[in-house]
Symmetry: C2
Subunit: 468 residues, 2 copies
């Protein structure tokens, strides 16, 4: 084994290699400490040439390679197995912004660029890079691409896939595919980039990408509206889309229980509305003209919805600080539920028209089997994407509750399937859902995936045991 | 051979089969009469089950299948060879709108739906289906998907690929992949739909799709601005994007020579501006609020650009009839240049930031070799996509001029390659550019395409001789 590491060392140098256990730990274990791998070595190439050199050695020696970005994934997709035989290939050292073209509205970035830094580079050029998610301070754009990350901007700007125009990929045999095109239209054969995006490193290593930029809106404003039910949240969505069209850039729902968790675990939190209501919706409007224009837009949406009896109470941010407070409320839910104790997480999507019905049916089914659990339901309602999490009863010790996890997940995922939904809306499959997906995806589709895998990685060295 | 046709007849019945030459002609030859095929039979299945039955027979007998939609393609992708051994499979009889879900903003359509009918079905439900192109009155949505059609709405809404959420596909062995999901987020493995979209029927037959719908804008308004050069057109684009953001839904450029051809061959045409200028830009603004809002938006963009000396003259449509007149001006260019005589067409894209430079460099090179040709340059400037066509000198007979076609195309495509562009922005490869692309696409990328083709169509029966 050390022969392989020695050969890799010759490619990446001392700065690109970690082999002692303590140094490897931040890469070997995921941030939620759910998946503990034991890599043969952590390899940190500084260039696409070095990645190619490493993969060539791995192909020759049939050594498995697990690519990793910022190690913020939730499904263990970037973590090796415990055999001590797999190479963990971290892209974090390849973090240059190679080019920015404001007229073409594109930015060319290396895989290891931190998402927040891509946002900042775009902003410095007067442009918006709209991908935005909780882990943006450490997630890498290469990981975002490999998992087709979602987040809060999908409603208007799409998933990471929709923001990519071109890729540079090191293939499973170490050859480099230069597909770094910055074109809006290119119909010259199969669109190969879409194979690598969302493939979680099982078909090759994404080393750089050309991403789309957008005009920076003149103003972004938020409001929080209280509604009586998910049905009414959907009615509010329809009004907002009809009135505001593309200016509607955020539409997040969270239940009163989610709010109560944030208030409890973030004591500085002030509830936005004086009276509590069953559900809240965070609306974001982006306006190309001005803040006043955004304000009139959001107020007009809320006024119509209040008149129709859909919105029970609402508040519009008065300044940027209040905008940030509102977003913090939504974003702190994940952390708050962690402080509250263990919970069984689900990242699901269903057609938007069926969300309310899905929540009601699934809640009822769960409550029949587990009357005392607490539903922590929130998410990107405008995308049909719910983080449908189940927290244990307060009096039950976490380890006892977690014994119910598999049963709870079965109820939720079977319900998702009945509603023609997805059991992984934005987090991918990784190792966490690789078995689970076989219950829900047609056998023919899995077979097609296997054929694609065999065509692009015939030796099976790219991230084995993940996705397929 | 007739044994195969007899077996197919048993699947599709008399209504689904055409074998006499006169009946086959509308399918056998493309509408521009550039590609004349001789099919063994034209097969018109009425359902996905029938398509599957036909493909199973073709797979068993190793018979080639050429799928065809509305037969409006420009590259011969839907035309058989002349051997009399290939089956032409027309999807035109599968033309049901299977479902429409205004809350989910989706429409489920069969491949044979005419694009304009999909637009109308969406409109009847108060929604916008934004794909729009010259041939929309006869093009089928299945063909739009198979060629990843572009058109005039790409600037805001993307190509056909970006509008598809799910597909139903009959694979090369006759199995049916039901991927008809209507989800905004679904990260459960490789995104197979993107393989079939833009594959021009070489990997399977798309039989149905779930497409995205959008809120219907309250108003769409157009203006025409005269500018001195493509550079200034790009400056105008920047102003429009900054001021109007997503409200900017159309940005088309055409030269004064294009305008003169339309005026000449459509005598009812009135030029929009009193004085002629080198270039014109058609701007379209879609506004969620009102026509007045759209008008103030477009006037504000034009005012800033005039003040900066970028726009030399401009006119804004006063009513819907004028909006249509402006679009007709742009859309009649293709027809006008046909009346003017033969021309050598190119459908190219380059990064938007390099368009002006590309036009200048390529014009100069062409004029060096062919001093008297006339450039018919127009296109979707906001997407970096030019229809860069070359018409012969007036005094040279068409057949003499067309002897120069290959040389002219070589100059244009080599120039495109130097600007990191695409030699087929929105029309696909078909049979027309299958050889040509080998000069420009990296060998490794062609090899990847071949591997994908072999994985999904190992017998090579799906539209052989096209794309790859």
């Amino acid at each position: 084994m050390s022969v392989i590491v020695d050969r890799i060392a010759a490619v990446v140098g001392a700065a690109g290699l970690v082999t002692e256990a303590a140094g490897m730990e931040p890469y070997a274990i995921d941030w939620r400490k759910r998946y503990a791998g034991r890599p043969l070595a952590v390899v940190r190439p500084a260039s696409v040439r070095e990645v190619a050199g490493v993969i060539k050695i791995c192909a020759e020696t049939r050594t498995a390679v697990v690519p990793q970005g910022g190690n913020t994934g939730l499904q263990g997709g970037g973590i090796t197995d415990a055999s001590g035989t797999q190479i963990l290939l971290s892209t974090t050292r390849m973090n240059r912004v190679r080019a920015i073209d404001p007229v073409n509205n594109t930015i060319t970035v290396e895989a290891g660029c931190v998402l927040a830094e891509v946002q900042r580079a775009a902003e410095a050029a007067g442009r918006l890079f709209p991908l935005s998610l909780g882990a943006e301070g450490s997630a890498n754009i290469g990981g975002n691409l490999s998992t087709n990350a979602g987040g809060t901007g999908v409603l208007r700007y799409g998933n990471t896939r929709d923001l990519a125009l071109g890729l540079e990929v090191v293939l499973a045999d170490g050859e480099v595919w230069d597909g770094l095109r910055g074109l809006r239209k290119d119909n010259t054969g199969y669109d190969l980039k879409h194979l690598f995006i969302g493939a979680e490193g099982t078909l090759g290593v994404i080393t750089a990408a050309v991403m789309k930029l957008y005009p920076m809106p003149a103003a972004r404003l938020t409001g929080i509206a209280a509604v009586g039910s998910p049905e009414d949240a959907i009615r509010l969505l329809e009004i907002a889309q009809r009135q505001s069209g593309d200016a509607l850039t955020g539409f997040e729902m969270f239940s009163d229980f989610c709010l109560s968790l944030v208030v409890k675990h973030f004591p500085a939190t002030r509830t936005p509305l004086r009276v509590r209501h069953p559900q809240y919706v965070l609306i974001e409007i982006s306006d190309a003209r001005s803040e006043e224009s955004a304000r009139s837009e959001i107020e007009s949406v809320l006024a119509e919805a209040m008149e129709a009896g859909i919105v029970l109470d609402a508040v519009v941010a008065q300044n940027l600080a209040q905008v940030e407070t509102m977003w913090a409320l939504r974003e702190n839910i994940t952390e708050a539920q962690r402080h509250e104790g263990q919970n069984v997480k689900h990242d699901v999507s269903v057609p938007i028209s069926r969300i309310a019905e899905f929540i009601a049916a699934t809640d009822a089914e769960i409550r029949r089997a587990h009357p005392d659990v607490r539903m922590v339901t929130f998410g990107h309602l405008g995308d049909g994407n719910l983080h449908y999490n189940v927290a244990g009863p307060q009096e039950v010790p976490p380890d006892v509750f977690m014994r119910e996890a598999a049963g709870l997940t079965r109820i939720v995922h079977d319900s998702v399937a009945r509603f023609n939904g997805s059991i992984s809306a934005e987090h991918g499959l990784g190792q966490a859902k690789r078995e689970e997906i076989r219950r829900y995806k047609p056998a023919l589709e899995l077979e097609l995936m296997r054929r694609v895998k065999a065509a692009l990685d015939p030796l099976g060295i790219m991230n084995p045991g993940k996705v397929i």
